[in-house]
Each structure stands twice: as structure tokens, then as C-alpha cells.
């Protein structure tokens, strides 16, 4: 019998709080009939966000091409699917034949060219489709890069604190060293080069060879959006210490107010930092809310050919990312244009989706800050709030979140799951429930919080 003592210690040590024990507890409560408000995970459509019709309709036709005909035979002359999408589906089928085949390891060249054109247009820089790899969401790309870079237990990877736990979990699984640099909560969770220098120096002193730097922009769980200037300083920092930059940019279209997204690729190019290796990640899970399709890509820049071959080899052992997700990635980066029959619907759906998220961000920010002993930084982007909660001595955010779940059915992730400064406590909530549910949630939370902090 396989026993727990047989299991890899790296696996046992690995923590992934977004789906941790609290989530298992919530699942049990749900089975027993309690209504759970799942604010633990960025899963927009699970909480009612609607998919963009042009993506789904095109995917359906590509999956079962006989439906192109079916939709053209309506008795009343109307058809459900706009003609331009039927044309696109036919074009995709002519290129790839069938979604039932493995593609090449990197993914369909047709889609990689679409992605390259998208990045080129977004950033005004040259992009090589050969250095795009299509992945099942962003996570496998991140794991691929870390698997290549973590060469021994001395390899250090700089990661923000707090951060999405994929990074710490994967570094633990691969036996490397996570080198945390703190984000500055007082300045809206900003990224500070002096703090990076501190973390780097401290790790180096311990004999850790720091090889890469993870940046999450917009931030998860923080919601912070990096300025141009910070990006430029970060690239210079990476250049000085010969660090590969891993840029997690999966929330690049979830930007609120006057904030703007700037990519690392753009400034690595514009600075002429051709000695800085950069791997950037994007996904459709958040940009178009299609978590379940597992769609995404990574772009490799300033990566030597022999290293590139190794990254492709890692991917090849999984053969390729899912074919439908690859096509969805192509659709994401080439939305309908004015004049297309599908444009009006797309435009309305996309604006509504974006406006709704931003409005909920505002609602959450105001609501959380109205609760005494709680303080939430500006939410500049992404889809989370990560407020500080000021707890009585001896209490932890893990305990807080567990009691909150048990008493109210609200499911957050404790700040300890993301890392935080010692002595501070937080939770992460998504901005995703419908507005009226957010309002009801804030009321329950406020009452619970008053009780808990008074105890």
C-alpha cells in the first residue's frame, strides 16, 4: 500500500491555499445544504459572468462543422450565428482540419501568428511567432519555465509577497528556493526596487543563486498595476543581476479607472535590453473569463535557441495544449471589428463585462473600507481585494476565514496563503459575485468582523 511516508516531501510541503482545506470544508458544507459564496477563486462564469458569444459560437462550429449548415436552414430566414463567424470557423477548419488532432508542441502556427500580431500591435514591437507557446491556461507555462530554470536546491526565484500561490507551490515542488520581496501595502502594494535589492542581497549571502524574478502585473492578490517607471527600473535591476524575468500578465485587460497596462515585453524591447531574458504569460481565464477552456500562451524573448529547445521539449512531453483552447486563444486576440456582423453583440457584451467588474471593484473597495479594523488599498486592476484585517492578539487570518466560513458561508482565502509581512493579517476576496450578493456579503462580513474583533 502506498502510504503517506512514501510520498515526496516536496509534494507534502507544497501549499496551494486557493484550493486548500478551507475549500474542502466549504464543499462539505455545500453538500450538507449550506449556501456557500465562493469568493476564493477567480472563476468569473461560476458566479454568473456571461461568456462572449463570438468565442463560443465560433468554437461550436469548429467542433462540429456540420452546424454551419444547420444554422443556415432556418424557416424564418434568420440565423443564430453571424455570417462572419461562420466564415472564420470555416477558415479555422481549413487550416487545422479537426480539433481532434494533436497540434505541434508549440501549438498551431496559425494561432501563434495571431498572438504575435496582437502583441506587436499592443506594444509596437516586433514579435516572433516561433517564440510563442500555447498553453492550457497560464499555469503550465509558468511551471514549464520554472522546471527549466530550477537546476538545484540552490536556485533562487524571486517572488512577490503576497503572491498567487502557484509560484511558491511550484518552486517547492521543484525543490528550489523562493526568495520573497515584499510589496508595499502603504503605497498601494507597489513594487520597490530597494526592497528587491534587499531580498536579492540576503539570498545571495545565504548561498542562493538567484536566477529569475517573478512579477505579477496587475497584481494577484493585490490589484496593484505597475507604472512604466517601475517596469523600467525592474528591467534594469534584472539586467544588473542577470535575472530572467517571468512576467505574469494574465490580468492585463482588467484595469480600472485611470490606470494603464504596460507590458514587460514593450520595455525590454524599447530599452534595448537584449541581454534580459523575458518570459511573459497571458491567459483567457480572466481576459475573457474562459477559465474552463484552459487557454493561454507564453512569449519567450531574448532566449537563446538551445534554451528554447529545452522549453519546447518540456512542453512536448505533454504533446500540446488542448486544441479548442488554442483556437479560443486565437479568437481572444482577434475580436470582431466594426463592420463585422458579430461586432455589435461583441462590443456590448465586452463593455458590460468590463464595466461590471470595475463597478464591483468600487463597491468592494468602499464596502471593505467602511468596516472598522479593516483597510483595503486601491484596487487598480485584476479581480481581487486583499484588505488588511486588524485582529486581536493571538488570532490569525486562517482562523478568521474558517470562522467566517462556518458562520456565514462566505469563502475567502486567508492572507497566509499568499504570504504577508509577519504580524499582519489579510484575506483575499474576488470581485466576482453579482452586485447584490456583494452587498449582502459586505453586510454579513461587517457583522462578523465586529463580533470577531470584539471577542
Amino acid at each position: 500500500m502506498l502510504e503517506i511516508k512514501d510520498i515526496s516531501p516536496r509534494v507534502i510541503e507544497m501549499q496551494y491555499a486557493v484550493r486548500g482545506p478551507l475549500v474542502a470544508k466549504a464543499a462539505e458544507m455545500e453538500k450538507a445544504g449550506t449556501k456557500i459564496l465562493k469568493c476564493n477563486i477567480g472563476n468569473p462564469q461560476d458566479l454568473g459572468q456571461k461568456p462572449l458569444s463570438y468565442i463560443r459560437q465560433t468554437l461550436a462550429l469548429v467542433t462540429s462543422p456540420d452546424l454551419i449548415e444547420a444554422d443556415s436552414k432556418a424557416a424564418d430566414g434568420t440565423s443564430i450565428i453571424p455570417d462572419d463567424l461562420k466564415k472564420r470557423a470555416a477558415e479555422i477548419i481549413s487550416v487545422t482540419k479537426t480539433v481532434g488532432r494533436y497540434t505541434e508542441s508549440l501549438g498551431l502556427e496559425y494561432v501563434r501568428k495571431q498572438v504575435a500580431a496582437f502583441i506587436a500591435a499592443r506594444d509596437g514591437i516586433p514579435v516572433d511567432p516561433a517564440y510563442i507557446m500555447l498553453t492550457d491556461g497560464a499555469s503550465p507555462g509558468v511551471k514549464n519555465a520554472l522546471q527549466a530554470i530550477i537546476a538545484s536546491e540552490h536556485t533562487g526565484i524571486m517572488i512577490p509577497v503576497p503572491r498567487y500561490p502557484l509560484y511558491s507551490a511550484t518552486i517547492t515542488a521543484l525543490g528550489g528556493q523562493a526568495v520573497g520581496y515584499y510589496l508595499d501595502e502603504e503605497r498601494n502594494w507597489s513594487t520597490d526596487i530597494a526592497e528587491m535589492e534587499r531580498a536579492y542581497a540576503e539570498a545571495t549571502e545565504k548561498g542562493i543563486e538567484v536566477k529569475a524574478l517573478v512579477i505579477i502585473n496587475p497584481g494577484n492578490p493585490t490589484g496593484a498595476v505597475l507604472s512604466k517607471e517601475t517596469i523600467i527600473e525592474t528591467i534594469k535591476f534584472a539586467e544588473q543581476h542577470n535575472l530572467t524575468i517571468l512576467a505574469d500578465e494574465v490580468y492585463q485587460t482588467n484595469i480600472f479607472g485611470d490606470n494603464a497596462f504596460y507590458s514587460f515585453a514593450k520595455y525590454v524591447h524599447e530599452l534595448g535590453a537584449s541581454d534580459v531574458s523575458l518570459i511573459s504569460f497571458h491567459s483567457g481565464s480572466k481576459a475573457v473569463g474562459e477559465c474552463g477552456l484552459r487557454m493561454g500562451y507564453m512569449e519567450m524573448r531574448n532566449i537563446p535557441r538551445d534554451v528554447y529547445d529545452q522549453l519546447v521539449k518540456i512542453q512536448s512531453v505533454s504533446l500540446c495544449s488542448n486544441h479548442i483552447g488554442q483556437i479560443a486563444t486565437g479568437l481572444m486576440v482577434t475580436p470582431p471589428k466594426p463592420g463585422d456582423a458579430s461586432f455589435a453583440t461583441y462590443d456590448r457584451e465586452y463593455r458590460e463585462m468590463q464595466a461590471d467588474l470595475e463597478a464591483k471593484g468600487g463597491l468592494m473597495y468602499d464596502g471593505l473600507n467602511a468596516i472598522p479594523h479593516m483597510k483595503c488599498a486601491q484596487i487598480q486592476g485584476a479581480m481581487y481585494a486583499f484588505p488588511s484585517i486588524f485582529l486581536p492578539a493571538g488570532k490569525t487570518d486562517a482562523d478568521y476565514c474558517q470562522k467566517l466560513l462556518e458562520e456565514t458561508g462566505i469563502l475567502f482565502v486567508p492572507g497566509s496563503g499568499f504570504g504577508q509581512k509577519p504580524g499582519t493579517n489579510h484575506f483575499r476576496t474576488t470581485l466576482l459575485p453579482p452586485r447584490e450578493e456583494i452587498e449582502a456579503m459586505l453586510e454579513k462580513l461587517s457583522a462578523f468582523h465586529a463580533n470577531y474583533t470584539a471577542a
Copy 2:
């Protein structure tokens, strides 16, 4: 700059010949205009196999539910999609809401129950849906299990020689020890317990802690199908040495002639071997030819709860397998039944698919054995032939396959990519090209082979 000297030695050492340098060479030749016959990879639809309509039609409706309506409005009263599939699609949507959301880490309970019922019916044994995990094809399941079991560089995993290189590549990547046991080519690549004992003893003597045993049934690349008796002996061997069995059963429906498939789950249950941990893998890539959907599952049996929690945690870091692939897995295990409107088409398509593969197996077996200095064992199942080729001294199958590619455009994988007895040479070809292309290929191969062995 990230340089090759920075890359993990485990990654550099990892070999995956199915997508190795020869495939890159073939891709170059194809870009330059040469027609390549891709016999390197089990990718049925890439070589013309048709998808099963009921799977694709249901998936299309689930992806874009508005098409259920579209298909019911035809002017001539006909509809493209059978009514029972429209009903199923509506049921699936009512259960899961949208394919755009993450499911729970294990995958949809609705599908896991379908898979459990399928195994229970196939084997006449009880199956717990909680111990089914839905995966993106079989590969991520295999990696998950190996990640848990490989605890250090002393952990040994017994793998057949020859074998599908996923196993050796993953063991290398995880830093474990591959303990090879030879299959017996003289007896149609059969599995021999005495040889397993030899390999086990030899590894143990070297200080390797052998923890698990990989069985591929039907065999890849060998095409061998295990008898009941061998399965029972293998389970007893595993029991005696306290080995977890990893049973790769992805070719379970690709069985030719009088051969029959028996699962490890069935006999682990019937023997009452409740102390033998078993993880079995299945996939839709071969069973229904849907490689591109990345659909599959693993079943865990006799796994303690705390170990199970670790396996689920590993999966949770990737959130879940792709949602459409999960639904496809449910469809695979619940095909249309007599009386369903979709049954006649399904029945015809499925029979044609199966008969075609078996006929091509016969064609390949006869053709390869008609070539002097080449010998192919019986092809009892799966979708490959793995003949011995008798080469002049100093020549290798790697060289043979490269020259063959360059001279004829035929792409095989050299035997060395799967492991083989020292001094022997082989290649693996799939059975997948259309019959007339197999015939043409055999002619070219025969001429090449005569030339090569005469040189």
C-alpha cells in the same frame, strides 16, 4: 541572459523521441515542400480518422447552447443533430452551467459518476467516483502519480523496455530511477514475472527503493495484450514487494482478433488484494481518437485518504483539467444506446473506425514481415508496430530512421527512443495512415531497407 548552463540537468537529460530532433527535421522538410508521412505519433485524426459525430455534436451544443435552438428551426423540418443529443446537451448544461468555469480539482462529479459506472459495468466491480480524477489526456495523470511517488533520487520505478517514453522522461525530470524490465520479443513482447524479479533484485542490490511498477496494456510500442494470468501474477508480484501499480490502459478498446482486454482494477478487486495500491489511466485520445481534446481520467484504488489528498493537491495547483475534455470523457463512457436517435450513426462510425484500424494492423504486420531482415511480432492491440530490423554491424536504428526520413519522407521513431535490448534495433510506426498510403509506404520502406541493409 538565460543560458543552457543555467538549465536544470534533469531537463537536459530528459528524452522524448516521439517529438524529438527527427520530428523537427521532418517539420523543416515539410516547410521546404517535401511530403512527410507522419508515422511517428498516435494522432489518428491527423491521418484522416473521422471523429464520432455524437461526441462533437454534443460538445458543440454545450459550448454554445443557443445552437440547440438554431438546429430546430430548419425550413425543411430536418435537423442536423439527433434529438437525444440535444437533450443530453441540455442536461449537461443544467448540471455544469457553463464550460467556461473551473470545475472542482477532481473534475465534474457528474462525469466522475459516469466514469465510475463505466468501470463498474466493464469489470463487474464496485467503483468510488471520489477516486476518479479527470485529466487533460492520460499524461498529466501519470505525471501526477510519479510526482507523488518519487521521493528522492533513490526511488525506483519499474518500467517496461521498450515503453512509451513519457515514463522515462518523467522519471528523469523528477530525479528518480527508472528500473527497466525487458519484455520478451520472442513471445510477442510478453511480460515475464521472472524478468521483473531480476530487475527488482538488481535495483534493490544497488540501493534503489523500488516503489512502483508501470504496466502498459495494451502495449505501446509493442502492441502486446496481457492475459488474465499475467495480470494476476503481476498483481501478486506487486503485493509481494509492496509496489504501487501504475496501469496505463489507454489502448483498452484497441484490441484485435481474439484478444481481450482485462483491467488491473478487476483483478486487484477479485483477488482481494486490498493492500495493492493501483492507479489506472485511460484517455479519449486513442479510444475515440480525440487527441486534441485532451481528455482522460485516472482511477485510484486502495489509496489511503492522506495519500489521496496529496494527489488531489497536485492536481489543484493546475486548478482542473479542461472542462470540454471532461464532458467529452463523460460522453466517451456513455455512448448512444440502441433506441437513441443518434445510435445508428454512432454504431456505424464506431464499427468503421475499429474495423479500419484492425485491417491496417493486419496490412502492416504482413507487409513488415514480407521484408527480408525485418521481423514484426503479432500486433494484438494498440496502434503501433515495433518490428526488429537487422542492420549491418555499426549501424543504428537512429541512423536508419534519419536516412529513411531524408530519402523517403517516412517518419518513424527509432527503437532507441523506447529502450530495447542492447544490440537490437527497431522502429515504431503507427498503424494510422489510410490503407493505400500504408501500401505505398511499405513499398518505399522495402526498397529503402534492401538498400540500407545491403550497404
